[in-house]
Symmetry: C2
Subunit: 205 residues, 2 copies
C-alpha cells in the first residue's frame, strides 16, 4: 500500500496503535514491565481497555510494538508462482511474515527495552514460532498441490523442518547484516545471505 | 573417561553436584524459582554457601543442572586432525561443547521446569552463546594456522558467523530427532542431520 493511498480511517488506526505502544513502552521503561498493566497503559494512552485489546492481544505486544503474524495473499501468490528456487522462496516468505509481526519501525525501542528486561525476549521467540507455523502451513498447502519435488519427496516432515530451520537461520543472518549496515530494508541482504549459506555448504564438502 | 576409572574423589564430587542440583530443582518446582535462593538451596542440600559456589556459578545453573561450557583438549585435537569436512567437524565440536554445559542426564528435569517457568530458558540461551564463542575461538586459532581454505578465505567474519549459525541449527535439528527417538546418544543423529541440510541446499537450486 502506498502512503498516498492510506485512508483517514487507516491513519487514525495507526495513530492509536502508536499511542498505545508509546504509552506501554514508556511505563515499562520508567517503572518496569510488571507495572505496565493493561489498565495503566490504556489510561496513559487515553483509550479504553476495550480499545487496547482491539489493537494488541497482550501487554507484551504493546510494550514491544509487535503484532500477530499474518501472511498476505500477495506473499502466498509470490511464493506459489515465483521462478526462484524453493529455499529462496521460503526465506522470502519467512521474512515477509516476520515483518508483519516484528515491525522495523518499532525496532530501536524494542531492542532497548529487551536489553533492559530480557524476559521480554520470550514474546519475540513465541512470535517467531508462530511465524514458522504459518510458513509451514503455506508450504504444506503447496506440497498438496503436488509440484515441488524437493518438498514433496518422501520423509516430508523431517525435510520440511530442516528447510524451515535453515530459512529461519538465513533470515536471522540477513538481519544481523542489516543491523550492521545503513540500509533501509533488510530484504536487500536476503539473496547474499542465501548465497553465503550455500557457499559454506559447498566449500565444506 | 570410563566409569570404572572414576576415582572415589570424583564420585564424591558428582554426588555433591547431584545433591545440590536436586535440592535446587525441588525448591524451584515446589515454590517457584524466585524462592530458590542460594542459602535455601545450600541448606536443603546440607552444604555451605561456599561449597554451593564451588559447584554452580549461578542458582539458575543449580536449578537447571547446567555447567559452564568447556572444550577438552581431545575435542580440539579431533577438530584439528580429523579428515572430515569442515562443516562436519564444526558440528561435532559444537555438540561436544554443548554437552559439557547442558548435560543429557539432567535433561528431563530441565525440560519439566522450563515448561513450568519459561524465564529459565534465558540461562540456556546464554550458555548456548557461550558455546558459540568457544567454538569460534577454536576455529579462529585453526584459521590462524592457515590451512582451512573455506574458513580462511576473504570475508572471514561473515563466513565464520554463517558456519557457526549453520552448525548450531544442524545440532538443534539433531537434538529434535534424538528427542523423538529412543537412542542413547544424540551424536548418532549428527551425520544424518548434516546430510539432510546438505540435501535441502542441493535440491533447492
Amino acid at each position: 500500500m502506498h502512503e498516498s493511498t492510506i485512508s483517514q480511517r487507516e491513519r487514525n488506526r495507526l495513530d492509536t496503535w502508536n499511542a498505545v505502544h508509546e504509552a506501554a513502552h514508556a511505563i515499562a521503561w520508567e517503572e518496569g514491565p510488571q507495572e505496565a498493566a493493561v489498565e495503566a497503559i490504556a489510561a496513559r494512552a487515553g483509550v479504553s481497555r476495550r480499545t487496547f485489546f482491539n489493537y494488541f492481544p497482550t501487554k507484551e505486544d504493546a510494550i514491544l510494538g509487535t503484532r500477530t503474524p499474518e501472511v498476505s495473499e500477495g506473499d502466498i501468490e509470490r511464493f506459489r508462482t515465483s521462478d526462484e528456487d524453493e529455499l529462496t522462496r521460503v526465506v522470502h516468505l519467512f521474512v515477509a511474515v516476520v515483518r508483519t509481526a516484528i515491525p522495523e519501525a518499532t525496532s530501536p525501542q524494542r531492542r532497548r527495552i529487551i536489553g533492559e528486561h530480557p524476559s521480554l525476549q520470550r514474546r519475540v521467540l513465541r512470535l517467531l514460532s508462530e511465524v514458522e507455523r504459518i510458513v509451514a502451513e503455506v508450504i504444506q498447502a503447496r506440497v498438496e498441490d503436488g509440484d515441488d519435488v524437493a518438498l514433496a519427496a518422501p520423509g516430508d516432515g523431517a525435510r520440511l523442518e530442516a528447510l524451515l530451520m535453515l530459512s529461519g537461520v538465513i533470515a536471522k543472518y540477513a538481519f544481523h547484516r542489516y543491523q550492521e549496515s545503513s540500509a533501509e530494508d533488510p530484504r536487500e541482504f536476503l539473496d547474499e545471505s542465501i548465497a553465503m549459506f550455500r557457499e559454506v555448504v559447498d566449500t565444506t564438502r
